[in-house]
């Protein structure tokens, strides 16, 4: 383990964009670390470029051709004297080959994230499923390896339909997923064998286009489930994982993209559940820690769970990276009595080799956190992204509100189409569920977001959708 003074000698290259780049810059500033940021042509007006120049000067910002060109990132790291790379939550964050290259190239760098061996082990849905099954952690019924052969895929699909019928499921449905996918991309559901063949072909084509890997997973579709997560953090010893509680991410768009996250994951104090919700939260936390210990987990990570209406949890996958919604868990946490927890700063600190420095019983969770993903999209039209120019974006300063955004508030902004459509994250705290919901709606009512596209049509956003969904968050 390294001393804190050694940690301060690092310069972090931020290999990502938008709001996560901003949060990493802010975390570096808190830790007294220098940083180098990147941008691409479509992102030149992003606020992350403005902040990089303000906090780090002109020389802290480099223009690159792509955020996904590893060689180019290394060239910038060498030119700028960076000693560590933070991949944010982009593709490189879960690419063990990239993490390995970072640490094994001629001029070695530190990878801010789990070690490449851990990413390889848990970043693969199949390995994760096998590890879970070995440790007695429940997983969703279905294939435990990527399937590329159509006949094999059909046999698995048929057996899953038969299995559900035997279980008394009236309308069995299965999911076909791109095995290299993630973040809700490349998933379709099927309700009969005739449609299965067409869906299989579509997902394989999609997977080949997006991930250059046509392997698919075939699983039982569990209906009306809640999507929960457990936030884990550990240092480089890989021996002392702690958790920062659970999150509920069940409010999603049609494409299974998260829109609202709430921490903790259920609220048995104010809501009635058909099962022992407290026990489910304890169980998924314990299962996640069990796997983290077994894998020697050594940075931040998220265990993603499906909880059925009967309260049965199934492990879905492990995201071996910081997630968009980490802030909602940090918002309700205090460490050794101190609030204002910054999980990204914690990730950097332990990633650079500092010891965790606290144990589970020194982490206290208090109140309820609510995160809104504010997006220019049309919820009434299958959440189709709205593309155009934002002409105004503002919100009131409130003590219980934290905003993270790459969208400028002092000038107009053209939404780039090359990236994830998130415009902003709003994190709200309340002492209980009722208060956080009231504050959430208050915030949304005062949020101002306007713009127009090339055809003169007014900006469409998910604000009304978020308001509607706030009413029933955590109800299950």
């Amino acid at each position: 383990m390294k001393k804190s003074s050694e940690v301060h000698r690092h310069t972090i290259l931020i290999a990502n964009r938008g709001e996560i780049a901003i949060r990493i810059m802010q975390a570096c500033q808190k830790l007294g670390l220098a940083f180098v940021a990147l941008f691409t042509e479509p992102d030149k007006h992003s606020e992350h470029c403005v902040l990089a120049r303000r906090l780090g000067g002109e020389k802290s910002l480099f223009r690159v051709s792509s955020y996904l060109d590893a060689n180019e990132i290394f060239a910038v790291a060498d030119e700028s004297g960076a000693t560590a790379i933070h991949p944010g939550y982009g593709f490189f964050a879960e690419d063990y080959r990239f993490a390995k290259r970072v640490t094994q190239r001629e001029r070695k760098l530190v990878f801010i994230g789990p070690s490449w061996q851990v990413i390889r082990e848990l970043g693969d849905k199949i390995n994760t499923k096998r590890l879970a099954r070995k440790l007695g952690v429940p997983t969703v019924p279905g294939s435990d390896k990527p399937v590329t052969d159509d006949l094999e895929a059909e046999a698995i699909a048929k057996s899953l339909f038969d299995f559900q019928q035997e279980q008394g499921v009236n309308d069995p449905v299965i999911l076909v997923k791109a095995s290299a996918g993630g973040g809700g991309m490349g998933i379709e559901e099927v309700s009969d064998m005739d449609k299965f063949r067409a869906v299989l072909r579509r997902i394989k084509n999609y997977a080949k286009r997006q991930f250059r890997d046509e392997g698919v997973l075939i699983e039982q579709r569990i209906f009306d489930f809640n999507h929960l997560e457990v936030q884990i953090l550990a240092d480089r010893t890989g021996q002392n994982p702690v958790h920062f509680g659970t999150r509920n991410c069940s409010v999603q768009s049609l494409g299974r993209q998260k829109r609202i996250e709430v921490a903790p994951g259920f609220d048995p104090t104010s809501l009635r559940y058909a099962f022992d919700a407290r026990k489910v939260l304890e169980d998924i936390t314990e299962y996640s820690l069990r796997m983290a210990r077994e894998a020697g987990y050594d940075n931040v990570g998220t265990w993603e769970w499906i909880v059925s209406p009967t309260g049965h949890p199934f492990l879905m996958e492990v995201n071996t990276r910081i997630q968009v919604e980490n802030g909602v868990s940090a918002r309700i946490a205090s460490i050794k009595g101190k609030g204002g927890v910054d999980l990204i700063a914690e990730q950097i600190r332990v990633g650079l080799g500092a010891p965790l420095g606290y144990s589970q019983n020194e982490i206290v969770l208090n109140g309820v956190g609510l995160e809104y993903r504010i997006i220019a999209e049309d919820p009434d039209n299958k959440f189709a992204p709205w593309v155009g120019r934002i002409t105004s974006f503002s919100w009131p300063e409130l003590p219980w509100l934290t905003m993270h955004t790459q969208v400028p508030t002092d000038r107009e902004y053209e939404i780039p189409t090359d990236f994830d459509p998130n415009l902003a994250l709003a994190i709200i705290w309340g002492k209980d569920l009722a208060e956080v919901k009231a504050r959430g709606v208050e915030f949304l009512n005062t949020l101002s977001l306007a713009g127009e596209n090339a055809s003169g049509e007014a900006l469409k956003s998910n604000i009304e959708f978020l308001k509607r969904k706030t009413e029933t968050v955590l109800v299950f």
């Binding site: 691409t40 042509e41 479509p42 480099f62 223009r63 690159v64 051709s65 792509s66 060109d69 590893a70 060689n71 180019e72 290394f74 060239a75 910038v76 060498d78 030119e79 190239r105 001629e106 973040g183 991309m185 072909r201 084509n205 999609y206 286009r209 997006q210 494409g255 993209q257 959440f383 189709a384 992204p385 593309v387 189409t417 090359d418 990236f419 994830d420 459509p421 090339a454």
Partner: protein, 216 residues
Amino acid sequence: MIDVKDLLRELREEPYEKIVIRAPHSGRVEFVVQEPGTKVAGASGTWKETSGTLLARLEREQNKKPLFAPQKGEIMSFAGIQSGQFVQAGQELMTIRHFLTREEVIDRILRRSLSLFPAPEKGKYYFFPDVDIKIKTKGSQTVHVEDGMELFILSRMKRETSVRYSGPAGIIYAVYFETNDSVDRNSPLIGVCPESELGKIQEVISRVQSDWEERD
């Protein structure tokens, strides 16, 4: 149909284009060509298998990427960057004056003659898998399109949507985008020619081939 004669006259008045060579990615540049006025060759061969003149090398992570002249012409100017300097993606390195070839003149005329189907939104475009296979195996001119036909997949912001072709029925005479490139809104995706007008297009091509003199 357009007036080919007029268009050729217009092109002859300014028979070249300025090609700005930019750093395709960040890295350390080492110039090979160093003098303005130097003649350079473009890629040649049936499949452009012979590279053009080596202009510079751009090093990143110990990989020296050669930057070849994309077209023949002469170096007009350099952007004031020294060999050994670190350049950022998109930074201007030099400018080449390139005299239009017959193929380029044909391309310009075709873009005015064909029915162009523009990208309705900015994003990455792919042909529908069945069409894609046909184009890859038999060429785009074997694909017949009709108004309302689902032809493209538009990928942007983690979403894929289908895009229907709208315009006259015909064959895909030219494809103007590459897989995985981001296409700007209103940039042409394909040029369509009704089967009945194929003869006229061939006439235009023959006319350019006989009338346009290429310059070094």
